[in-house]
């Protein structure tokens, strides 16, 4: 077995609110990701999944814990070294409209990472831009045009081309298809899968769409209010979910098959809303919405329990499995 490309150990991030209270956005999260693999991170809005992605890239400074990437502790690197390591970790955001400067041509946008890292001559960079555009399924002539001339799906392709410019090892994809139309989503998902296979890329794939996450991921982490409450191989987590929250999430997805839904309509939907992360419930943080809540859940925070096998770890944080 190869050493992991990315090792996240007890990573935490808290923000200080204006009134002095702490908001724990990411709470002691640990996982590792091997080369060529995808870890999917799912959860509802406000669960900390995007913050997690940003802290790993050190776009936000972590409060605690460490991120080991290609043998370096990213959290401790001084700026010049951090810049070197950052070449290998890139990001794709949800909204390609907001991620592309409207006043730059597509060519300049894709070239920019190469310019910043002083890679290649002008001519070499131009041919690289043309190659990258073709890799993501666009014509080389697009380089002279501006982002507004393209559709949402094409803009996301431009973002992907830019993320690939430095030949990274890891791409953090934060809701990369959520802003796209259904028929375009599948095009971009196919592209991401293809690129992974060809370049042995690793993805940290953040999304609220469980079906999409299951489709792209080897392993999956389910987050709730900053904590990873369940993690394991994707097919296991989705087929035999152990945490009541994962089960509720899966029940809540409307399946595009009417027959299945008529049966599922009898399922009690998860009641209530996500509590505010600045007022975390005591004990297990899911107990306020859990249908199987027991007395000890209200006072006692559960520890992660291994419910899988040594070869196939599956962690869950719930008293039901203690």
């Amino acid at each position: 077995m190869t050493a992991p490309l990315l090792d996240v150990i007890e990573l935490s991030k808290s923000f200080r609110l204006r009134d002095g209270r702490q908001l724990q956005a990411v709470d002691r999260v640990s996982f590792s990701l091997r080369k060529g693999q995808t870890l999917g991170v799912v959860g509802e809005s406000g669960c900390g999944k995007s913050t997690l992605g940003r802290v790993i890239l050190r776009l936000i400074e972590p409060s605690n814990g460490s991120v080991r990437f290609m043998g370096h502790d990213v959290t401790l690197l001084p700026p010049p070294l951090l810049r070197e390591v950052r070449k290998h970790m890139q990001v794709i955001f949800q909204d390609p409209q907001a991620a592309l400067d409207p006043r730059m041509t597509v060519g300049r946008l894709i070239e920019e990472p190469l310019v910043i890292h002083r890679i290649g001559s002008v001519a070499e960079r131009q041919s690289e831009v043309a190659r990258l555009l073709e890799t993501v399924g666009m014509s080389a002539e697009s380089a002279a045009r501006y982002p507004h001339e393209f559709s949402g799906g094409q803009r996301q392709r431009i973002c992907i081309a830019r993320a690939l410019a430095l030949k990274p090892q890891l791409i953090v994809a934060d809701e990369p298809v959520s802003a796209l139309d259904v028929s375009v989503q599948s095009q971009v998902l196919n592209l991401l899968t293809d690129l992974q296979r060809k370049n042995d890329l690793s993805y940290l794939f953040i999304s609220h769409n469980l079906a999409v996450v299951k489709y792209v991921s080897d392993a999956v982490a389910v987050m709730y209010l900053g904590r990873v409450v369940e993690m394991g191989e994707a097919s296991q987590v989705f087929e035999t979910p152990k945490h009541p929250y994962t089960q509720a999430l899966l029940d809540a997805i409307p399946d595009p098959e009417p027959a299945k839904q008529r049966v599922a309509a009898s399922v009690v939907p998860l009641s209530g809303e996500l509590p505010s992360p600045d007022k975390l419930p005591s004990g297990c943080r899911f107990h306020t919405r859990c249908l199987q809540c027991m007395d000890r859940c209200r006072v006692d925070a559960p520890q992660p329990v291994q419910v899988g096998t040594a070869n196939n770890p599956h962690w869950v944080e719930c008293h039901l499995w203690n």
Partner: protein
């Protein structure tokens, strides 16, 4: 329906017909820009004119002919007989008024009730949509509420006069799945209780499958297929519907298998082809498709499709 400074501009919605029966839910699905919202809003004449113009067609609600109504007459119908829930609960509420004020306004525009009775109606409605501690909510401003609560308030506003028809434009798109399930459950309950018809606009085929009785698929301003929900999912006839259904990753989709895609993209309203608008993306395209758009025709009971070469039934 066309857009432009004068009638005769870009045709956004073209020759569509649909009907919503009492107690029934009709779903309109389609990708962004296909004209689904414009169609629904112009069906109740809620589109501002200009820039939008209804070039031709008939709109009616029960015995009422909406097409010929004046603004004043329409204002009496909107809110009282037709309720609307818009997509974005953030921008559909007025940030400078309390929730109570806005709910009272929706009611007092159409019914003159003594204060105490009006208040009771408002509180009852909030209770129906699952807002807890309704009294204290009345004094709050929209920014103090979460997205799910705001959406419930909007639904309460739309339903407070017990309309016959509810138009819901992507009512759950801005919400998380668990909240979405709650809101759809709520709408289902209220529909059965009030016997109203619902027209729901969505791009989520999962929502359609679980929530609607009938569904109409739109592409580039036209309805290309319409059928009872079970039939449409079991035997889609239009190549676009088929492609759309096949391209969604589901929990049962094996990892790594390439997803079937519909190549290309939706044409803009201003440069739609003369023939079938889906033609350029369709594997079954022929000269007939390029010459003129296929009409929406019945193909078996209640199943309508606009295609010269529909898929074979299995």
């Amino acid at each position: 329906m066309s857009f432009g400074p004068r009638p005769g501009g870009a045709r956004v919605v073209d020759g569509v017909s649909f009907r919503v029966n009492a107690g029934e839910t009709l779903g309109i699905v389609g990708e962004s820009g296909c004209g689904k919202s414009v169609m629904a809003m112009s069906a109740i004449r809620l589109q501002a004119s200009p820039p939008s113009h209804i070039e031709s067609g008939q709109l009616s609600l029960d015995e009422l002919d909406l097409t010929s109504m004046s603004r004043t007459e329409l204002r009496d119908v909107w809110g009282r007989r037709i309720g609307v829930v818009f997509q974005d609960p953030m921008t559909s509420l007025n940030p400078t008024f309390t929730v109570g004020d806005q709910l009272h306004e929706a009611l007092s525009l159409h019914e003159s009730l003594p204060r105490s009775k009006a208040r009771a109606r408002v509180l009852h409605m909030l209770d129906r949509v699952g807002v807890n501690a309704p009294e204290s909510r009345l004094r709050q401003y929209p920014h103090e509420l979460s997205g799910g609560l705001r959406q419930r308030i909007l639904i309460a506003m739309a339903l407070i006069c017990r309309p016959q028809l509810l138009i819901a434009d992507e009512p759950t798109t801005a919400l998380d799945v668990t909240l979405q399930a709650q809101i759809l459950d709520l709408l289902r309950g209220l529909r059965d209780e009030l016997g109203m018809g619902i027209l729901i606009i969505t791009h989520d085929l999962g929502v359609v499958a679980g929530f609607c009785d009938r569904v109409a698929v739109m592409y580039a301003g036209r309805i290309v297929e319409s059928a009872p929900v079970n039939l449409l999912f079991k035997e889609p006839l239009h190549p676009y519907t088929c492609g759309l259904l096949a391209s969604i990753p589901r929990l049962s989709t094996p990892r790594g298998i390439a997803l079937p895609v519909i190549e290309g993209r939706v044409p803009a309203a201003a440069d739609r082809p003369t023939g079938c608008a889906f033609g350029p993306r369709c594997a079954r395209v022929s000269d007939a498709c390029r010459a003129s758009p296929p009409p929406l025709q019945e193909d078996g009971a209640e199943h309508l499709v606009a295609c010269y070469h529909p898929m074979e039934r299995t």
